[in-house]
């Protein structure tokens, strides 16, 4: 079983601030982390490695420093890692990114001497953009089935059974290889990288792919190849905390409410 996991290095959104004047994300001094949902995707792949002997390959698209998350993934137990890095792909929106990654998935399969990956795993979304579009777009570009929001997955032979999470509950869906899955937090608890794995990962060569290597149509990539234009990023105004009046006696509750509303000159 050959599994490819797409991983992204993202700014730690818990630390991110938005420039109130320029409406851009302030990246300076913000630590970069391994996108948490991608860690769930990797953990799922590693469990299939532990239990069924799957081979796990990592792929990331980003600046050269994105090798950091690839090394972290190798330290957790992935077998191989590839980085797609090229100034030409910078500024890509989700459509262009999905296209680039799909081309890279094909290229990596070719480099590994396999026809295709049986499973492509992604996190449901990256915590910086929160679009949840790239995974499905890769599946579309590859022309393979996709099951998003996987909260549980079982692999039996070439059949994948997924408990797909949605707002109301779950849908159990099956698909045959090849398939693309996106992972939610509930799927598992990602393991920690090991110290030994970290030391070994440090010595690993991580092959880098350029736009030319993955055979892309340059009019479909980068800022110019992206139909989406970001006009403005802003922090939504914070809602003030509501007040819950929780009295046993409804009369007391009503009196309290009237008193508050009167004091605020609302009534």
């Amino acid at each position: 079983m050959e599994i490819l996991v797409c991983v992204k290095q993202v700014p730690d959104t818990a630390e991110v601030k938005i420039d109130p004047v320029k409406h851009t994300v302030i990246r300076a001094g913000v630590p970069n982390i391994f996108n948490p949902f991608d860690q769930n995707a990797l953990e799922a792949a590693l469990q299939l490695k532990d239990n069924q002997g799957a081979k796990v390959t990592l792929l990331s698209m980003g600046p050269p420093q994105a090798t950091e998350v690839l090394r972290e993934g190798l330290a957790m137990g992935a077998d191989d890692a590839y980085l797609l890095t090229d100034r030409k792909v910078g500024g890509s929106d989700t459509l262009a990114t999905g296209y680039c990654l799909a081309q890279a998935v094909k290229k990596v399969a070719e480099m590994k001497g396999i026809a295709q990956f049986d499973i492509v795993l992604c996190g449901k979304q990256a915590i910086d953009g929160d679009t949840a579009q790239v995974g499905p777009q890769i599946a579309c570009e590859l022309g393979i089935p996709q099951i998003t929001y996987a909260a549980k997955l079982d692999v039996d032979g070439d059949k994948v059974t997924v408990k797909q999470q949605n707002e109301e509950g779950y849908i159990v869906t099956e698909a045959h290889f090849p398939v693309l899955l996106t992972a939610v937090k509930e799927l598992n608890e990602p393991r920690f990288p090991t110290i030994r794995g970290t030391m070994k990962a440090k010595r690993r060569e991580i092959p880098q792919l350029s736009a030319a290597d993955i055979n892309v149509d340059e009019s479909r990539i980068g800022l110019s190849g992206s139909p989406t234009k970001v006009r403005k990023i802003f922090t939504p105004p914070q809602r003030t905390q509501g007040l819950v009046i929780n009295e046993e006696d409804p009369q007391v509750a009503v009196d309290t409410l009237i008193e508050k509303l009167t004091a605020q000159k609302i009534i």
Binding site: I195, R196, T198, M199, K202
Partner: protein, 379 residues
């Protein structure tokens, strides 16, 4: 002199920090209050390879340096001082002497699983009548053919009961005092080796401390560590390393106490302004910070000297004494800043204060550190 951590060292700190935030912090209060030694947490920590950081790869380690290991002890101690000493107990006090004094067979059999984290280790020197004065050992080992018969008991043993492998000191020749002490590697489960009562401690509640009892325990002669009669040297050199671990633990406790105090001082409003706006508090915080930074440099220096293979006995003694005193002072001040809330177990600073106290006592009391330092000074 380079005061910057390497990328590797930063990565190990991050590993320990992630583990601390995700696995230790959520339950530490409950585990502390109920005295829970959590085997699952320890197993997970060991699986990460935190016990093998600086041992060579051929012995199951990661081949990194001593400072990397010390940094992880410090980082864990910020979240849970009990778990940090569990780590230091298995690495500094058990795996390290096997690495330093063990035969190739002993290293293969015992160091590899300790470094890989499949087994936990402990160290038994202290007895009811032999604390700082190790020559008062009453545990005896009598040679009988191809093995020794071990009798006696050890108290206050960190990781006792939980550990699989124990470094145990016993008198093989009582007439020779310190020169009659021999070190042995003893396995849990051997006939006659049992555990006494679990200690009810002031702090480090999340670590396990028990008594070791030996009743006619047959120890194969090949489990003698080092040479017969040279156990005192094994103990002292092992404790030198252990002191850096305790110093790192103390440093972590102090840093956690300061961080809590800083946060609280920004939130708590009295007389219309946050506590940190009062100079009496901000200077206190600054003073705590200064002490911590001074201690940090001593701790890291001792670790670097151990790594370099230089003599580090005095550096370890100084680091341990200073860092543990700093942990005590800083945690007491943190409680003071929290005021009444600081005295409540609902806030973490009370735990830091209780945890800090032991760092002035174990791995040689701070008075022993003065003896070591004075001895070297006046040689």
């Amino acid at each position: 002199m380079d005061f910057n951590l390497t990328d590797d060292q930063k990565m190990f700190v991050k590993l320990a920090k992630d583990f601390g935030e995700k696995r230790l912090a959520p339950t530490v209060t409950e585990r502390d209050h109920h005295g829970i030694y959590d085997e699952e947490i320890i197993a997970e920590m060991l699986e990460m390879g935190l016990s093998g950081t600086y041992f060579p790869e051929e012995y199951g380690g990661a081949g990194a340096d001593v400072l990397s290991y010390i940094l992880t002890v410090e980082e864990l101690a910020k979240y849970d001082a009990g778990v940090s000493i569990t780590l230091s107990g298995t690495v500094s006090l058990c795996a390290n002497p096997i690495w330093q004094f063990g035969t190739e067979e002993q290293k293969k059999k015992y160091l590899v699983p300790l470094a890989e984290g499949t087994k936990l280790g402990a160290f038994g020197l202290t007895e009811p009548n032999a604390g700082t004065d190790a020559s008062g050992q009453q545990t005896v080992a009598v040679k009988d053919g191809d093995h020794y018969i071990l009798n006696g008991s050890k108290i206050f043993i960190t990781n006792a009961g939980a550990a699989d492998i124990y470094i145990v000191f016993a008198m093989t020749d009582k007439s020779k005092g310190n020169h009659g002490i021999t070190a042995f590697i003893v396995e849990k489960g051997w006939e006659g080796f049992t555990f006494g009562k679990k200690e009810d401690k002031l702090g480090i509640h999340t670590s396990q401390t028990m008594e070791l009892v030996f009743q006619d325990v047959k120890v194969p002669a090949e489990n003698l560590l080092g040479q017969e009669g040279k156990g005192f040297k094994v103990a002292m050199m092992t404790l030198d390393g252990g002191r850096i671990g305790v110093a790192a633990q103390a440093l972590g406790i102090a840093e956690a106490a300061l961080a809590d105090a800083v946060e609280y001082s920004k939130q708590r409003v009295q007389f219309g302004k946050p506590l940190c706006k009062f100079q009496s508090i901000s200077f206190k915080l600054a003073d705590m910070k200064m002490k911590i930074e001074a201690a940090r440099n001593l701790v890291y220096k001792a670790a670097c000297k151990k790594q370099a293979g230089e003599p580090f006995t005095v550096d370890a003694a100084i680091a341990k004494r200073v860092a543990s005193d700093v942990a005590m002072e800083v945690s007491v001040e943190a409680v003071q800043i929290f005021g009444g809330y600081g005295y409540s177990e609902e806030y973490p600073v009370a735990r830091h204060m209780r945890d800090a106290k032991i760092t002035q006592i174990y791995e040689g009391t701070n008075e022993v550190q003065l003896m070591v330092t004075a001895g070297a000074l006046l040689q």
